[in-house]
Symmetry: C2
Subunit: 455 residues, 2 copies
Amino acid sequence: MSELIARLREGLPGDAVVTDPDILGGYAHDMASFCPAGTPAAAVLPRTTEEVQHVMRTATALRTPVVPQGARTGLSGGANATDGCVLLSLTRMNRVLEISPVDRIAVVEPGVVNADLSRQVAAHGLSYPPDPSSWEECTLGGNIGTASGGLCCVKYGVTAEYVLGLDVVLADGRLLRTGRRTAKGVAGLDLTRLFVGSEGCLGVVVGATLALRAEPPRQLALAAEFPSAKAACEAVCRIMEAGHTPSLLELMDRTTLRAVNALTKMGLPESTEALLLAAFDTPEPSGPLAAVGALCEEAGASAVVPADTPAESELLLQGRRAALVALEAVRGTTMIDDVCVPRSALAALLEGTAAIAERHRLTIGVCAHAGDGNTHPTVCFDARDEDEAHRARASFDEIMELGLRLGGTITGEHGVGVLKREWLARELGPVGLEIQRSVKAAFDPLGILNPGKVF
Amino acid sequence: MSELIARLREGLPGDAVVTDPDILGGYAHDMASFCPAGTPAAAVLPRTTEEVQHVMRTATALRTPVVPQGARTGLSGGANATDGCVLLSLTRMNRVLEISPVDRIAVVEPGVVNADLSRQVAAHGLSYPPDPSSWEECTLGGNIGTASGGLCCVKYGVTAEYVLGLDVVLADGRLLRTGRRTAKGVAGLDLTRLFVGSEGCLGVVVGATLALRAEPPRQLALAAEFPSAKAACEAVCRIMEAGHTPSLLELMDRTTLRAVNALTKMGLPESTEALLLAAFDTPEPSGPLAAVGALCEEAGASAVVPADTPAESELLLQGRRAALVALEAVRGTTMIDDVCVPRSALAALLEGTAAIAERHRLTIGVCAHAGDGNTHPTVCFDARDEDEAHRARASFDEIMELGLRLGGTITGEHGVGVLKREWLARELGPVGLEIQRSVKAAFDPLGILNPGKVF
């Protein structure tokens, strides 16, 4: 038994240290399975803050890399193992410690599953808006680490807006409390928001105080069919320019619609080039929904299909929710891009992506949180075909390049991880990258926290 | 002429360097006039980013402290001069560079006055929500530096939620661009939000990309009179617990009501112990307003007065807007506290504050952004009376101590500055303070940016 394992066991229960290589393999990577993953020395599954502190103290003493993990549903390899690392899984710290309807906050441990919190707060008439696609599996700690988005962002914003305070175990094992449980607060630097989206590079989140909202009415949706992606993007711009605040504004292109039909037999309209889904969750949604339908028609929609009930609306959304799985079935493997552009540049991004797909003879389906300009061009390829995999990677990169050229970002909500590390420097520039590294070093001078990720 | 002045003049127009002591004095402090202010070496008023870079390069070369300033409407001495410093006023960089209704963003220079931006975006049917009381004078750069709040926060949040990207001149003169002009983005650490509320200690903001919202309908308000502050706070809790999202939820205590009447002759009800103002800016505000009125009555309101029109609502709010000026007239000077507590602790804070006032034989008026639990206990005193001034300072501190004991923060929206520097350590604890200082050092290793503030 190595010194590392022996020392880890000194402060952890027997079942909290995993070294069996067969079991370890399952912990070694997230959902971006094509990103490289190293061979971990161990996985640890602490149940308390003190146990996490013990892990970090041990790692600091032995200069061992530590990779914090939630449910490993990430899409950029941010939770992948590095050689010889300790995988620090927070999934057993999964208690909801408090829900306060008056203060509209929840206090949680990092391993609570997003959907579990949503259901628990719903029982109090409250909602926790951030809703990444993996919400039935992903943990709140993981959501905080990656600053997760979701379908709701166009109205309700992203995870950063809902994190009021954090308990963080630092690289050397000290416990840092940031933020507050009040609605507002500006005492000192806003370290809370600095941790959101830091992908496990600054510290290990062991507790969070989250802001909640009053639960809105169930949303009512419409679907609009367009003869071109450009026309659908034009509708998105008109809707936002007219001052509407939909609770959801999603786009699926023809490739995605066909893939969803192939998987689910839902009968989505395959002859249409782009389908737009819009919803409102206001007390009287039919008014704005009709106005949005009219704007879609002005922008060239060939058909506008409003739902009559929330249940019908949910049916319309099921296709969208199935999109990524459906696209994966097309060629066996996908690379999911996450480029976000100003919504005025959405049409240019979609047209450019279609040209990239054609040039590389690839199938690239696009679904998008269109209201935010956040697209997921999804490159479908056969990983066993070396040439196709090579073209897939080239097209994936070209889409990011296009996004940057259009004033966008390489990642709207999935994070940098391993996948986009080389691209971060291009987005940030040399001054930005240098300052980011200085900040990282202020928290983690030995560089043991998730090394090789992000920077 | 000193070397500092000579070198500053090398890269700045003649009228951009102020050294006349009489004029300099006017730049030496913000609105917290009882905080100590040193004697500056010069004030500079650059018009371009390059000029700001020249100032910072000069300051780095000569190890000269630099104090960034906006309109100096701050309430904690954060913009006060330190001895021998350069006061760096950004007020001449006051252009709105872009307003995009489709992307719902504005690109601004830091010296733009908050109300000027609000008016310009209103012409496009848009709003920039953060509305500090000084909105007709304060600059957006100052709002960003202090993470300003306002009356709107209970529904629309604080400045941090509206800053998408920043251009920042670093201590050594390098230009850093953070963030983005897209609705979402998670590429690297969120330095944008780290700068918001950093009180000029990390860099000099020379440009900002701000998120806008669709302009809501004009709000409709009601006023409710309560026989005790406790009952008014109980109403606040019931309103929030019932799931309402008012656009404004403000409280004034009897001392404040009397002060406002004395100043404005508005005829607010002086026999009442606390007045609550609630408003909604939804398309149909009368429904939720009636529900809130009923909740106020259940909590013990002696009278509920709904406005019939937005104009009437504005009249109701005028008293609230006059509160701080009115309280200043009571004894000539005020110390405005800014304690924010979980709203469930609002009643305890108000009762505790009344006890502190009594113990110190002082007049302390409380107005509060009650929906956020953010109170402004305002200690009225005669600065010429040494004993009274001493008691004022003691009571001011005791209110912060009470706020911390109730799970709150020493500052909800005004910042730490000079005024609350000693208190920051108590709120953050030793680990928090140490980490904050490390982060500060990563940006400003020589410690020339606003030294002696915050930390």
